[in-house]
């Protein structure tokens, strides 16, 4: 394999791995803060237990997220130096802001929260966990603004063959970024919430620590229902926007080859995995639904891959401008399918909660437990769609991925780092996974240390 292909594999593997922990940490930090607020307000022991229990799981996710996050930042320069030279003037700014505005707050206040049990006043201690939660959300904004610029470049001009920033407000206020942010944060609440709901369901089915887990389940279910439905809603508008900004990605998502009016939404199709196959072999579709999904009107036109390719060849010169259609098609469907399934589950759960039947509904608890890992798969699919659907571009319309790679880093060097990171990440996944499930399975300890003692962080910290 060439160093380009290897660098792409490495970026894909390390980024998806990192993104296990991103939404989980954002979600768990929020619900830990939420639980601690309930404890602060009610002084009820069960909320203290919930805070410490979910906080402990959040810490594991956080540690791995931080450890793998440094790789993300270094990787742009290490593997994608020509990309970095090209975009640095624009792309570096939100990255640096993320560090200054979010990472410093996040890491410092997490230390204060973790070691501050019994040392800080209750009010200040509660404030520290909200600072952690807020800064995880803020960091998502900056990195998504940076990524959105790759999807839809704004606020720049070309100077000497490089992108140069002309308006930071355009970059930070990029319509793509605003939708991506809402979509990602809602999905993160869904991820963290489903993990909490799944673990709570497991314990409730075994009648262990029912007070803590009943409370936790009731805490997350309304949020899950609202987040589940709005994630889909925001995702829809995200899709409409993408049809305007990156029509090729949307065409690939539905394997529309020829421009069609009143296009149907394909449910299941079979075709070749080539980047631009001639067409599909089999296709089951719902008439007019795709046109409606993409534009809001059932009769409107959907541009096809072949027509877009012809248009782009005129604009950008000869070449292939379609992503791997099958990847875009199936990743998009996976994300949507899971999104709808989770929203349905959460709405039913909320309805049962309001009828006071939630904890007794064994079927629903079991379904929640088994569906808890699905948000991770949906996130993976969503990012695979977003990033692979943009190919052959690294910055849409401006810079090709093949022109982004570090020219003097050899494929031997990338092999070493690719194998090294993959092995290391694999080993850590096994170890962290076992610890996570052991702690999750054990439940909160029967007695926590006295919260006024200066050793109250025991059992949470090292």
């Amino acid at each position: 394999m060439t160093s380009l292909e290897l660098a792409r594999w490495q970026f894909g593997i390390t980024t998806l791995y990192h993104f296990i922990f991103v939404p989980l940490t954002i979600g768990l930090a929020f619900f830990t803060a939420y639980a601690q607020t309930r404890w602060y307000r009610t002084d009820d022991e069960k909320w203290k237990k919930a805070t410490r229990f979910w906080g402990k799981l959040m810490l594991i996710s956080f540690a791995l997220g931080v450890a793998t996050g440094i790789v993300q930042e270094f990787q742009f320069g290490m593997n994608w130096s020509d990309y970095s030279r090209f975009v640095g003037d624009v792309f570096g700014a939100p990255l640096a802001m993320e560090g200054l505005a979010a990472f410093f707050v996040e890491s410092t206040f997490l230390g204060l929260w973790l070691f501050g049990w019994g040392r800080l006043s209750k009010k200040v201690h509660l404030a520290t966990i909200w600072m952690v939660s807020g800064s995880t959300i803020l960091s998502a904004y900056f990195i998504l603004a940076a990524n959105s610029w790759m999807q839809h470049p704004v606020g720049y001009e070309m100077v000497d063959g490089k992108a140069q920033l002309t308006s930071i407000w355009a970059v930070l206020g990029n319509s793509t970024a605003l939708y991506a942010f809402a979509h990602t944060i809602l999905a993160s609440l869904l991820t963290g919430g489903m993990v909490i709901a799944g673990i709570s369901a497991w314990h409730l089915l075994r009648n262990s620590h029912t007070d803590v887990f009943k409370g936790s389940l009731r805490m997350v279910v309304p949020v899950l229902a609202v987040a589940g439905v709005t994630t889909i809603g925001v995702g829809h508008f995200n899709g409409v926007l993408m049809s305007e900004q990156q029509p090729m990605k949307m065409a690939a998502a539905d394997a529309v080859f020829d421009t069609t009016e009143g296009a149907g939404l394909s449910l299941f199709a079979v075709g070749s995995m080539e980047s631009n196959p001639e067409g599909l072999e089999r296709n089951i579709e719902i008439p007019n639904l795709l046109s409606f999904v993409m534009t809001g009107f059932p009769r409107s036109e959907v541009q096809g891959i072949n027509d877009l390719n012809a248009e782009y060849r005129e604009r950008f010169g000869p070449g292939e401008y379609a992503p791997i259609v099958a990847v875009a098609y199936w990743s998009w469907r996976t994300m949507l399918g899971i999104g709808f399934a989770l929203a349905l589950l959460a709405v039913i759960a909320w309805w049962l909660l309001r009828k006071e039947r939630l904890e007794r509904s064994t079927k629903l608890l079991k379904a929640t437990m088994w569906m808890a890992p699905l948000p991770f798969i949906a996130s993976f699919a969503g990012w695979i769609f977003t990033e692979m659907g943009r190919q052959p571009w690294s910055v849409f319309g401006l810079l090709r991925t093949s022109d982004s790679v570090s020219p003097t880093v050899s494929s031997a060097e990338v092999w070493i780092s690719l194998v090294g990171f993959t092995l290391l990440y694999g080993v850590l996944a096994v170890i962290a996974g076992r610890i996570f499930f052991r702690i999750a399975g054990k439940g909160p300890p029967d007695e926590d240390p006295d919260e006024d003692s200066e050793n109250a962080h025991f059992g949470l910290a090292y």
């Binding site: 290490m78 003037d89 570096g92 204060l112 973790l114 140069q164 003097t408 300890p445 007695e447």
Partner: protein
């Protein structure tokens, strides 16, 4: 054309400050990480050593992330050349930092000697390797590496391992080790502190010697002599020498001295590098100037506003963290506590009801 603008100068200084902040803060984390396995004789002592940096090491590491991000934003060419050029060295540093970070988090998660032992090795190696390699990296940055007209690094990993660069690495390793030993002496009580003090008194000697030799070597490589660099280098060595004396008397003063030494050491390096960001050993015409490396004036202006607003704030709340956790840690604090349940047992055995522990700096307001 001028070699640099005012904003470029400001950002060169700011990035120097971020790197220096990183080395001062993570420097003692590295030292403590190296010492943890051998200095702590039992689990409680090791836990005390971990807790001496527990609340702060993560925040300290963010200085590196921000230094990297700021370099990307302000000097993209520098970021691109440096990070792609030092590819394998940075890969090794990343792996080391990852195993060290998860080592801190996982060490206490299982009650097994083999488990803890494994993570102690991870913490030791994960601390020692970056402490060495950061020095190697900076020696190469100022010493010059093969860089072509397109600002791309054309050498390989082994080109980075010259005697000069390795000695630079040895300088940072010995300095961070001594810095960490002094920090541990200052932050702990009892047997751990006493043992760390003994280590510190010995460790500071090679730190002074190696640093002095390497800085002299560095300055001798440049003709004419770089006077500002020379002054800062002398101050670094003097500060280390002072620390060697003070470590036998007042430990916090010794810590202040090693802190000053690290600031001076890297200030000397950055002054030496200025007004370039990378030196080409292929042809001095390919040296990368600030002007060549930098972002546009607009981007630098935006980033200056952000930095002016946020950096003071960062210093305030990070400073506050150090204040909150200023108490010295003793292995006896942990007693035979392994789990929270043991803690309650212990308090009951001691005749307390679990409510009359010394609350330290915790202020408990009346709650509604």
């Amino acid at each position: 054309m001028e070699e640099f603008t005012t904003l470029q100068l400001i950002w060169f200084i700011l990035i120097s400050v971020l790197w220096i902040g990183y080395f001062v803060l993570e420097g003692f984390d590295f030292g403590v990480g190296i010492l943890m396995k051998t200095l702590g004789r039992d689990e409680n002592e090791k836990r005390a050593i971990l807790h001496s940096i527990g609340p702060v090491w993560d925040g300290n590491e963010v200085w590196l992330i921000v230094a990297g991000g700021a370099t990307f934003a302000a000097f993209p060419e520098w970021y691109a050349t440096l990070f792609s050029g030092f590819y394998l060295a940075l890969f090794v540093i990343l792996v080391a930092l990852i195993v060290r970070n998860v080592g801190f988090e996982f060490w206490g998660k299982r009650d097994s000697k083999a488990w803890r032992n494994g993570w102690e090795w991870c913490i030791l190696i994960g601390s020692a390797v970056p402490a060495l390699l950061w020095g190697v990296a900076w020696a190469n940055i100022i010493g010059g590496t093969p860089i072509n007209a397109e600002a791309d690094f054309t050498g390989n990993f082994f080109d980075l391992l010259s005697a000069y660069a390795l000695l630079g690495g040895l300088a940072t390793l010995t300095v961070f080790f001594a810095h960490g030993a002094i920090f541990l002496t200052m932050r702990t009580k009892g047997a751990v502190s006493a043992r760390a003090g003994k280590v510190a008194r010995v460790a500071i000697v090679p730190a002074v010697a190696v640093t002095a030799v390497w800085l002299a070597w560095t300055l001798s490589r440049h003709d004419p002599l770089e006077i500002p660099s020379l002054i800062l280098a002398v101050l670094a060595v003097v500060a280390l020498g002072t620390a060697a004396v003070l470590v036998r008397r007042t430990v916090w003063q010794a810590f202040a001295a090693t802190t000053v030494a690290i600031v001076m050491f890297f200030s000397s390096i950055f002054t030496y590098l200025f007004p370039n960001t990378m030196i080409s050993s292929t042809d001095s015409a390919f040296d990368m100037t600030l002007n060549f490396s930098s972002s546009s004036e607009y981007t630098l202006t935006v980033m200056t506003v952000v930095a002016v607003l946020l950096v003071p704030l960062v210093l305030v709340y990070q400073g506050w963290t150090y204040w909150v956790f200023r108490h010295r840690i003793s292995a006896e604090d942990f007693g035979d506590v392994k789990t929270p349940v043991d803690l309650l047992d212990k308090r009951k055995r001691e005749g307390g009801d679990g409510k009359n522990g010394d609350t330290g700096t915790g202020q408990q307001p009346a709650r509604p």
